[in-house]
């Protein structure tokens, strides 16, 4: 299981990204995980909880956008429907070999950050 290392990287990168926004806490981090990223979303979420626990962002949620790979037919252009986690060898329409496209995402997309209100200066 390498999801723990990835969760640590996501948290570290997220903290860097909000550095210029002053003190505050991360509410949510949205990531894209592709079907061919070799990362299990449930394990990643589990690891994330362990990573943020005890940090300044202990309530931060991880939102995983699952990005399936697409199976395309280069002969007829059909995008083949398939059950999740299964693969088709031939195009259901023209029976030519299918190719796999996409699904290799492992990206941090955006962070919802709650910045502390700036202190009111006394006149």
């Amino acid at each position: 299981m390498h999801e723990m290392g990835i969760a640590i990287e996501i948290y570290r990168t997220s903290r860097e990204a909000v550095l210029g926004h002053g003190p505050g806490r991360i509410e949510r981090v949205r990531v894209a995980v592709g079907e061919l990223a070799a990362v299990e979303p449930d394990l990643l979420s589990f690891a994330w909880e362990a990573v943020v626990a005890g940090s300044a962002d202990s309530e931060a949620a991880l939102e995983v956008d699952w990005r399936p790979a697409r199976q395309l037919c280069s002969t007829c252009g059909e995008v083949a429907e398939r059950a999740s986690g299964s693969w088709l060898r031939l195009c259901p329409r023209c029976e030519q070999p299918l190719a796999v496209e996409g699904g290799d995402e492992l990206d941090i997309l955006e962070i919802v950050y709650e910045a502390e209100e700036p202190a009111v200066r006394e006149a």
Partner: protein, 223 residues
């Protein structure tokens, strides 16, 4: 005040940066680097032993061995007179670019023509980590079963070369070679598929030729 910060950064960007540094260093040296990935016991080290016996006389080779524990694999390589460094991950299931940089620190591995990086035996976790290699090579032995490419699609989609190993055992195990080739072709139509036996030498000529050709290409690109 709630702010939405758009990031659009790869989760493993810091690994990718280090892999980029490694790639630049290896290009400068004209070294071809391979990242060998498979489940434990598919024959990565045995393939390397046969390869080093064949190519050791004509090319300078070295091996970085990744394992959770023991120096055993590096010792097997050194017994052939080939420089090897053992990276012990201490439990981690994969190598990353930082570990490879550490393995290449001064003096550990000389400048070579081909650097073989044998990853920790695992078909999943090593997939996500770029090590600065020129090509990923996945091994699948015939005893592992003929359903593995579709079961572990990520590595078969990424590996440029798929070595189906232990071909000498084919007569003794149920293994539908055509089905495996079809699965790999579906996930990666450009993959080169080789059927080999490190013990009998079957199919090894094509593997050696591939290494020589890739080294020549790299030399031309980086000259």
């Amino acid at each position: 005040m709630k702010t939405i910060v758009t990031v659009k950064r790869k989760a493993l960007a810091s690994n990718d940066e280090r892999a980029g540094q490694l790639r630049a260093m290896l290009a400068e040296r004209g070294t071809l680097a391979l990242n060998l990935i498979s489940s434990p016991g598919s024959g990565k080290t045995t393939l390397l032993e046969a390869t080093l016996r064949e190519l050791g006389g004509e090319l300078r080779c070295a091996v970085l061995e990744g394992d959770v524990a023991t120096e055993r694999d590096a010792e097997r390589i050194r017994a052939l007179g080939v420089p090897a460094h053992q990276i012990l991950t201490g439990g981690a299931c994969h190598l990353d670019a930082r570990l490879v940089q550490g393995g290449l620190e001064e003096g550990r591995i000389p400048e070579v023509d081909i650097l073989f990086i044998e990853n920790v035996g695992n078909l999943i976790c090593p997939t996500s980590y770029d090590l600065g290699e020129d090509l990923k090579v996945v091994l699948l032995s015939v005893t592992e079963g003929d359903d593995k490419p579709f079961k572990y699609p990520a590595i078969f989609a990424r590996a440029e070369v798929a070595v189906i190993s232990k071909a000498d055992l084919l007569p003794h195990v149920p293994f539908d070679l055509a089905a495996v080739k079809e699965q790999i072709a579906t996930l990666n139509p450009r993959a080169t598929i080789l059927l080999t036996s490190s013990l009998t030498g079957q199919g090894m000529g094509a593997w050696y030729d591939l290494l020589r050709a890739r080294l020549a290409t790299k030399r031309e690109e980086t000259a």
